[in-house]
Amino acid sequence: MENRTDKNSYTIIFAIIMVFVVGAVLAYAAQSLKPKIDENKRLEKQQNILYAMGVNQNVEGSAVFISTDKVASEFEKYIKNQIVIEGDKVTEDHEAYLIDVKKEQAKARAGGVRKLPLFIGEKDGKTFYVIPVYGKGLWDAIWGYVALDENMVVQGVYFDHKGETPGLGANIKERFFMDDFTGEHLLDGSGDFKGITVAKGNADPKNEDKTDNEVDAIAGATITGNGVTAMLKSDLKLYESYFKNLKNN
């Protein structure tokens, strides 16, 4: 005897109803949790920016952010100014850190003028200029924040990624890689913008030469490393004129 649930019509109707019910449940869950998730993402951006300028709770060898309950007040304390550079126009905007760098890059590709956010922080009497960068790794997006001084010398970085290979490309967010950038120059000897290359087989694996515009690559993560190089070159170069003006004034 054929079972009622074996009929094709029953199967199709069951599938249709199931899709609607499950879709509705998930849509409701996503909508009701969205404000909290957005808030977490906002705090994470603040943590990233502060991390790059050295405000963090690092313990030996591992990168630890400042805790989420303190981050809002610390951000207020250390970040003195946030500006947006749009062509020749420079405006202050205390929500510049919420600017989506990916969207701005797409705007520039479509021929528009890109908004360039810049966060000016102060810690122990030193001024930090923190710049967001966004690029492509091997599998998916990579991004980060780079803290510079007024000579475009790196003071600290934070990198993150969406889906690089664990143990290889994913190590760009490990301290042994990020710490290498500290002290590196973005300009070459004659003051022109050169960027920082994540270089394989360079003669300086301990990274003692800070003016060679190179850091040591991660073995097995060539494409992610190249992505970091390209991201730093293209995104940081856009700020070159700002720093030139800064020195002239």
């Binding site: 199967t11 998930l26 993402k41 030996e60």
Partner: protein
């Protein structure tokens, strides 16, 4: 067991010991290796999987008489996928840092063989209450091993438990570090999870010879 009949109690206790999904059935190994470097991640993963397999078992069992047999695997997959998305959203909303640590592995709960295995083997043939208990049991059995592995890996690899420095401070050289103890960084890499797991399987089988397969 008081609250539960003897048969029902067995549903929960068996997967914890002689029918453990990881050490005996050797299911769910990939996530057991990947996320056990810290105890906290292990505990959250254990709770997440237990919730998904228990609630999923319950839902599948309630629907077992109306699920069209031709598409039952797809129906099971939809139920797991929906539950996993909910777990992922809840983690992102209430434990963001951890959701980043667990990252892809929360999504991979979907492919955890334990879950589909229990749906297919148990929930489709048993009532809701028994299926729910079976889910709790198997989730807990999986979680127990995860927590044991996570405990040793965090303790020996980082010298901490749940982030607390139980062995002293490695930088200030207090506690055990004062007499020259060093953390074993190898414990933090996945291969050591496999070795710890192997040791657990070894101990378990040497204590209960009935578990050793004939060849």
């Amino acid at each position: 067991m008081g609250l539960l009949s003897k048969k029902d109690g067995k549903l929960i206790l068996d997967p914890l010991t002689d029918n453990n999904p990881i050490t005996i059935q050797v299911l769910g190994i990939c996530s057991a290796l990947a996320i056990t470097a810290q105890l906290k991640a292990s505990i959250v993963m254990a709770i997440s999987v237990t919730a998904v397999v228990a609630i999923g078992n319950l839902i599948i069992s309630l629907m077992r008489n109306i699920i069209p047999s031709k598409i039952r695997i797809i129906v099971q997959l939809v139920v797991v996928a929906a539950l996993v998305i909910v777990v992922d959203l809840v983690l992102k909303a209430f434990s963001y840092e951890l959701s980043k640590t667990l990252s892809v592995f929360v999504g991979l709960i979907i492919t955890n063989c334990i879950i589909m295995g229990r749906f297919e083997a148990f929930a489709l043939a048993n009532g809701p209450w028994r299926s729910f208990l079976d889910g709790i049991g198997n989730g807990a059995g999986y979680g127990l091993i995860l927590i044991i592995v996570g405990f040793f890996r965090e303790l020996l690899g980082s010298g901490t438990l749940l982030g607390f420095k139980v062995l002293g401070d490695p930088i200030e050289k207090t506690g055990l570090y004062a007499i020259g103890y060093e953390n074993n960084g190898f414990m933090l890499l996945s291969p050591m999870a496999l070795i710890v797991l192997g040791i657990i399987i070894w101990i378990q089988r040497s204590r209960n010879k009935a578990l050793i397969e004939d060849h």
